[in-house]
């Protein structure tokens, strides 16, 4: 049978494979054909090995024929952001620094996907070391928004979101340090989930800011995001911050979500909806969403997050401080770029780092080094960590009054390519997503509308408490079912 990749989800592919209507080889070949056709325009991938994908697909088909397949998702392709290690594949983090490096092992999330028979389909473009909100900070090439090629796909997991939106792959794993899964998902009209900190093992994820980083799925719909979360979450002895798996199947939660949100309280933070802070289209979308939630039976309550104003400053201190420490390992000695223009060891460090890192990475390393430097630690890093405590308490208090929080993802629709050049302006666009990482809680981005005159999608954000993914996914699913936008796909 012909496969309609544009609407195909993981769950549908799984049914088609089970019924024998399609094979994994056919499925993967169709995706490969699509990639070869549209990838020159979108540029969502930095690495793709056709032969190895087809070989894995053949193996999967043989397993299935023998009845020895690794579960119902065996043979389905999934891609990963270029900072998640896959054995024998490159792992460049969108940086010249790691251009020739190959991963010696699989990240835990990759091991878990492979154990279920998923085929790791390729590696998606990203802002260098996950630093950026547009996918234009990749040292290879910028990725385009499949809806409107003059707009950015968001970042830093822009390649993952663009690939899913363009139906080059049914789903991808990204990483979210300050919104890097949720914001590109919203910009590309797909679903992006940032799990509770610790829910998913970070082993094999190249670190940006270790206390904020979390791997999350980008998928066509809420159900697929839940399926992937089921696959990748749970305790891992290789990541001491990973948490035990709860006795719950998120995919089942989504399946039985029903069509009512009766009894659920949705909080709207008064600090988030100050007039003029949001683009008109985003404000209108939030108002419409509020109305829909009421119609679906939810109660809307006003909540307060009084320290929201300080979240961004706190975030950029903590994230850059951790980044400056994490990125100190890239020194040109054991792996990565080594300058050929040095007379001694000290010069080798200086030159390798100068040549290997792009401008935004250098800026963040400098800022992080500064806030940790002698004499300034208390005024910046320590203070930022105290603000982090206040932000957590804000959320704890808010969740006493509501189950979930409704918020925009970005204050504006996807930016025009090449226009977001001022670093501080770029940081300010993260204002609605970073608090979730500071507090370590969970958040999801769900497509909500299309800005007609720009032909770009918008997404809303639902925020849940720590380990609150069940409620989060249920509400996201009911919302998704009642917004017809999911039926729209980019015209490619």
């Amino acid at each position: 049978m012909n496969i309609d990749l544009k609407t195909l989800t993981i769950s549908e592919a799984s049914e088609l494979l089970a019924s024998g209507k399609i094979s994994s080889v056919q499925l993967c070949s169709d995706y490969i054909e699509r990639i070869e056709k549209i990838e020159p325009e979108i540029k969502a991938f930095v690495y793709f090995d056709k032969e190895s994908v087809l070989k894995s697909a053949e193996e999967s088909d043989i397993r299935r024929k023998k009845g020895e397949h690794f579960g119902s998702f065996d043979g389905i392709p999934v891609s990963v952001k270029d900072l998640i290690c896959v054995k024998d594949q490159p792992c460049t983090c969108g940086s010249k620094m790691l251009k020739d490096v190959h991963s010696p092992y699989d990240a835990t999330v990759v091991t878990r996907l492979k154990e279920k028979g998923f085929i790791i389909f390729g590696r998606n473009n990203m802002d260098e070391f996950a630093m950026g909100s547009t996918c234009e900070n990749s040292s290879y090439y910028p990725t385009k928004n499949p809806w409107n090629l003059n707009r950015v796909p968001g970042g830093s997991s822009g390649g993952s979101a663009a690939a899913v939106a363009a139906s080059e792959v049914p789903a991808s794993l990204g990483s979210d340090t300050g919104g890097s899964v949720r914001q590109p998902a919203a910009f590309c009209g797909v679903v992006g989930l940032k799990p509770t900190y610790g829910r998913v093992s970070r082993y094999g994820l190249v670190a940006y800011a270790s206390s904020l980083d979390q791997i999350g799925p980008i998928a066509k719909d809420v159900h697929d995001a839940a399926i992937l979360l089921d696959m990748i979450s749970g305790k891992d002895h290789l990541d001491s911050t990973s948490l035990d798996k709860e006795d719950v199947c998120f995919a089942d939660v989504v399946k039985s979500a029903g069509n009512s949100l009766k009894g659920m309280k949705i909080g709207m933070p008064k600090e988030y909806y100050i007039e003029g802070a949001l683009d008109e289209s985003v404000f209108a979308d939030i108002k419409q969403t509020e109305k829909l939630f009421k119609e679906l039976g939810a109660e809307i309550v006003e909540v307060s997050l009084p320290h929201s104003k300080y979240a961004l400053a706190s975030y950029y201190i903590i994230a850059t401080a951790e980044a400056s420490a994490n990125l100190a390992r890239f020194d040109g000695i054991r792996y990565g770029h080594r300058s050929q223009d040095s007379n001694n060891l000290h010069e080798l460090y200086l030159n390798s780092r100068k040549e290997g890192f792009g401008a935004e990475v250098k800026r963040r390393i400098l800022l992080g080094t500064f806030v940790l430097s002698s004499g300034y630690h208390d005024a910046y890093y320590l203070k930022a960590q105290k603000v982090r405590t206040l932000i957590r308490e804000d959320f704890n208090n808010a969740f006493k009054k509501c189950d979930l929080i409704l918020s925009p993802i970005s204050p504006c629709p996807p930016f025009e390519a090449g226009t977001l050049l001022d670093p501080l302006q770029m940081y300010l666009a993260d204002i609605y997503t970073i608090s979730v990482n500071l507090a370590g809680i969970c958040g999801i981005s769900v497509p909500s509308d299309i800005v007609k005159n720009l032909n770009v999608p918008l997404g809303i954000q639902l925020i849940g408490p720590a380990m609150g993914e069940s409620k989060l996914l249920k509400a996201a699913k009911v919302f998704e079912d009642n917004r017809t936008i999911r039926k729209f796909v980019p015209n490619l």
Binding site: I317, R338, Q385
Partner: protein, 106 residues
């Protein structure tokens, strides 16, 4: 030190770059200096908060120490790691420039 808790008015980019082992060209210095000072002006808003008594948060979830047996695990990836080195030589060694200054290498 007297400046322990004070915010800064500007960042000495050259000094910070030397701490971070980053070489900054003269041509990029001014732009970086301006960018850093703009960001600094923004993050300095934290100094208006009076939060001496607040406990800092290092990790967002309440992490407890976890004890486990210290068991040796063999990964057998040594050769693979050496292959990733920018300059490797025979016998599984990574080549680096002279570390201790002194006589030029023969």
């Amino acid at each position: 030190m007297t400046n322990e808790k004070k915010a800064a008015n500007n960042i000495d980019v050259s000094y910070i770059a030397s701490l971070a082992r980053l070489k900054i060209e003269d041509s990029e210095k001014q732009k970086l200096q301006d960018d850093m000072n703009e960001i600094l002006g923004y993050i300095n808003m934290l100094s208006e908060l009076k939060i001496e008594d607040v406990e800092p948060t290092m990790y967002a979830c309440d992490i407890k120490n976890v004890w486990r047996e210290d068991v040796l695990e063999k990964k057998n990836i040594k050769e693979y790691l050496i292959e990733n080195a920018p300059e490797n030589v025979d016998n599984n060694l990574v080549k680096v420039p002279q570390v201790i200054p002194g006589e030029e290498e023969a």
